[in-house]
Subunit: 235 residues, 2 copies
Amino acid sequence: MRYELYYWPTVQGRGEFVRLALEEAGADYIDVGRRRGRAPIEALIARKREKHPPFAPPVLKAGRRLIAQTANILLYLGARHGLTPKDEVNRMWVHQLQLTITDLVVEIHDTHHPVTSWLYYEEQKPAAKRRTADFWKYRVPKFLGYFERILTLSGGPYLLGRRLCYVDLSLFQIVEGLRYGFPKRMKRYEKKVPRVVALHERVAKRPRIAAYLASDRRIPFSQWGIYRYFKELDG
Amino acid sequence: MRYELYYWPTVQGRGEFVRLALEEAGADYIDVGRRRGRAPIEALIARKREKHPPFAPPVLKAGRRLIAQTANILLYLGARHGLTPKDEVNRMWVHQLQLTITDLVVEIHDTHHPVTSWLYYEEQKPAAKRRTADFWKYRVPKFLGYFERILTLSGGPYLLGRRLCYVDLSLFQIVEGLRYGFPKRMKRYEKKVPRVVALHERVAKRPRIAAYLASDRRIPFSQWGIYRYFKELDG
């Protein structure tokens, strides 16, 4: 089956978690927004006859099914492409970890837009500074420390042990994004989470992921995504 | 099986979505935090030997399993207590809707604490006013308008049609919370989402939910939860 991924054409965003899973699976998919030059996402979401209309992208079209919500898409893909355990207990555990990634993604975005997404960053700079300081003081240690602990428990190199799951790809992407948005802060912090860093390296070297990262299918980081770089926020 | 729910003892919070499902199911459960006078949640989360340690409450203990992340807990409970369809497509659809509720909950909380949770509301009042204005201008119409649309598609009275699912209970709780936090704004807005309001009324009258709401198991709304009332934010 050829999947269709509906997502904004110019940012990695939440769609990237899905792209990484599709790439690692070697799945046949079209990145619809990028293919046609413009994103027909709004049209898809507004489609009158759709039985299960999505709220927002990313959306995966699998045959006639439309599946939305990043973690939900990964739950679906994981089971079909060997990227999650077959037994229910561990499958829900991986999903639970992914939902924690979901929570973290919101907090990363809000570092540069804490007040509202309807103001430019420049209009909310003092708030962004305060939010970012607390993010690095309290939230990064809590989130990355948690994943470090899970890696210790599992024995690594992946969150479930020797076998890669889709949530490992997402954690890789979190490290990538934090390095882009906060290069100095992240460099300092990485010493505290060696297992998370090792996981990142290991994922980056997987043949399909390495090929994807080197291809033009990988959209570069930019100032329009979840992760943005502002010198004054990087401490 | 007697479930144990681990959640903060003094707020409805995210735990309430789980409580409502347990109550509607008539499930045997202990609200651990409230029973013992203090919440042993931190101890549970820090437990060294736990194979699947949760990141944060709410946590459901089901036999020896610990399940965290509200939407994940509901996915588990729904399947076991007839609160979600049996077929995979519709089960994932209900979960997808629940994940959209999850997103909305973060945005509701952030109306009164946009800058950071480490400052009092009084220290971030201008930001809260701006965030709240955008929340009601853009986000409430988008979210509640979406659920209104789903109810139109399903034919109502519930999001999947004639059969109640756990996400209906969560949408009921969203209406309850918005009425508490923003009584004037919500009163004005409700005219635009008659099906959402009708769902709320219908859920409130279900015998087990009505009994629960009238009991002291239902923690009252307060100024410490997700939903808080500030006159100046109620426009």
